[in-house]
């Protein structure tokens, strides 16, 4: 297994945001995490990225325990996060963003600056004309692509994406998912959080549905629309 989360729980003060979730992510696989607002989806990816401490449970990467590894070192270990809200960094140009992403990669895995930038721009050609533009002037779709490109430059084996389609126009969503499909084909593993549907299929995929911090669905198939509706309204799949 590439990544294994064993019975992880997270608390924010007295609120239990995540209750004993277990997850196994195989190399080059897709893990879809669905759930309504406040179900714990963001908490789950943040916990995997090391951004929130665990109350209990363990996380391992390639069978190496990384539970105590801080967020910035998990990036170097191979887990990159595209945060909710896309992690816009006002005042930094598109190029600055890409260079920051590149520096997140371990020295040995990094190519030359030109080669690295070229690999990012090849996936998202729209960014090419905007390299020297302040990233706060980008549209939501462009910023999402930049956030993904930036995360990829860290050379991850696992990409965590928190609601990449949130607030985007349909055309922008299609572009983002086109790129994600290509990345899956290239053998990148993904944990993808969305509220409802995910327009992406992979040969090896698992779907987890969260409700109130608990996994109410965990199977190698997608839930049907009816199942999802009943899961969101509470309770387990019939």
């Amino acid at each position: 297994m590439l990544l294994r989360a064993s019975e992880i729980s997270v608390r924010y003060g007295r609120v239990e945001a995540l209750h004993s979730i277990s997850l196994a992510v195989a190399p080059a696989s897709l893990t879809v995490v669905l759930g309504p607002n406040g179900a714990g989806k963001t908490t789950l990816v943040r916990a995997l990225a090391g951004a929130v401490p665990l109350q209990s449970g363990a996380v391992s990467l390639r069978e190496r325990n990384i539970t105590a590894l801080p967020a910035h070192r998990r990036v170097r270990a191979g887990i990159a996060l595209v945060p909710e809200g896309r992690g816009r960094l006002p005042g930094l140009s598109v190029l600055d963003n890409l260079i920051l992403g590149r520096h997140a990669a371990v020295q040995g895995r990094r190519g030359t600056r030109e080669a690295d930038l070229e690999s990012a721009l090849e996936l998202f050609p729209g960014l090419r004309d905007r390299l020297n533009q302040d990233c706060s002037t980008l549209s939501g779709g462009e910023m999402q692509m930049l956030a993904i490109a930036r995360a990829l430059l860290a050379r991850p084996e696992l990409l965590l994406l928190d609601e990449p389609s949130l607030g985007l126009a349909p055309l922008a969503i299609a572009r983002v998912y086109d790129a994600l499909a290509r990345l899956l084909e290239r053998g990148l593993a993904m944990v993808l959080v969305e509220q409802k549907a995910v327009p992406l299929r992979a040969p090896r995929e698992v779907t987890v549905v969260l409700q109130n911090g608990r996994a109410v669905f965990h199977e190698a198939r997608r839930p049907t629309v009816d199942e999802l509706a009943s899961l969101y309204l509470g309770g387990r799949a019939a």
Partner: protein
């Protein structure tokens, strides 16, 4: 586009300042040279704060504490131990560097308001400490007769040589700021200023990045503190009063956080303005701070500010007073 235009404006202003500084001695005013020297030294302290606040986005009131290490360090090392001022200055800077790690390691784990409060306590404590540590600092009387710097046998004991020396140091600090801002650590700091979590998700060790900002700023503030004391040949607790650090913040906010020319312009404004207003007598401070408040309301990010995401103070204005905000 906009970034380039702002850089052009700043470069023009910096060139103008440089020309003005070359011409200033020919005006033949001793007071002008004195004030300009003080401006250079405060500008350095403002630059040090600009690294922490303008680049890394952390609120720290500790800059006068590091100034005090430079000031008292130089005064004590030269008058008590007979060390050459030229050696006392870097020795104090090393001390400030070490102190920044000792103080920074625990404090920089705090975020936002907590870091601000902790460093504010440090700033208050600095003044009390140097007043109380009489055997070392001579208490509230302070230490006078601090010898001036001498470089290769040429003592900087005239007003004009100090003027040149201090502006050279200020130019070096400005250059260092420009280099840092465009280096990898500068990018990391600016990411950190937006949010710790985003920065960490980009593989940035936030504790280390903050500590670096803190340590570099401590060295710059310490050098400014040493030069100040060697310029006036005196050090006392009043130099590190809490009001001074607040002034340094005002200088940065008026000049513009994150900018290159801002600290110099802000320091000059706050050094010279009170003297222009001296005729107002008891109303001097009232008018002065009234004007400052107005300036910050009109330009929330300062003359050359880059911090566009900072809370725009103009939002607190009633709608009929608001300037139209440019669409994003």
């Amino acid at each position: 586009m906009e970034l380039a235009r702002r850089n052009g404006l700043e470069r023009a202003v910096l060139t103008l300042i440089a020309v003005g500084l070359v011409l200033a001695p020919f005006a033949g005013s001793r007071l002008l040279i004195y004030n300009l020297t003080i401006t250079a030294l405060y500008a350095m302290v403002v630059i040090s704060l600009n690294i922490i606040l303008g680049l890394a986005g952390q609120v720290s009131f500790a800059q006068t504490s590091f100034m005090a290490i430079g000031g008292y360090g130089s005064a004590i090392l030269t008058t008590r131990l007979g060390l050459d001022p030229l050696l006392a200055l870097p020795a104090s800077a090393v001390l400030a560097f070490a102190a920044s790690f000792v103080i920074g390691a625990p404090l920089l784990r705090l975020r936002g308001h907590y870091l601000a409060m902790a460093t504010f306590a440090l700033a208050l404590g600095t003044n009390s400490f140097v007043t109380a540590a009489t055997p070392l600092t001579n208490g509230s009387i302070g230490i006078s007769g601090v010898p001036p710097l001498a470089i290769a046998g040429h003592a900087a004991d005239s007003a004009i040589s100090f003027y040149v020396l201090c502006w050279a140091a200020c130019a070096a600090a400005t250059g260092a700021f420009a280099l840092l801002a465009h280096s990898h650590i500068g990018r990391a700091w600016r990411a950190l200023a937006t949010g710790q979590e985003i920065a960490a998700s980009l593989g940035i060790d936030i504790t280390r990045a903050k500590l670096m900002a803190f340590a570099i700023a401590a060295v710059i503030a310490s050098v400014a503190g040493s030069l100040y004391v060697e310029f006036t040949s005196f050090v006392g607790p009043d130099l590190y009063d809490i009001g001074i650090v607040l002034n340094v913040f005002l200088m940065l906010f008026v000049g513009g956080r994150g900018s290159l020319a801002g600290p110099i312009v802000g320091a000059a404004l706050l050094t010279f303005a009170p003297q222009f207003l001296a005729g107002l007598e008891q109303y001097q401070n009232l008018v002065f701070f009234g004007v400052l408040l107005a300036l910050i309301l009109v330009w929330p990010s300062g003359f050359f500010g880059r911090t566009r995401d900072a809370a725009p103070l103009s939002e607190i204005l009633p709608p009929w007073l608001r300037r139209r905000q440019p669409a994003r």
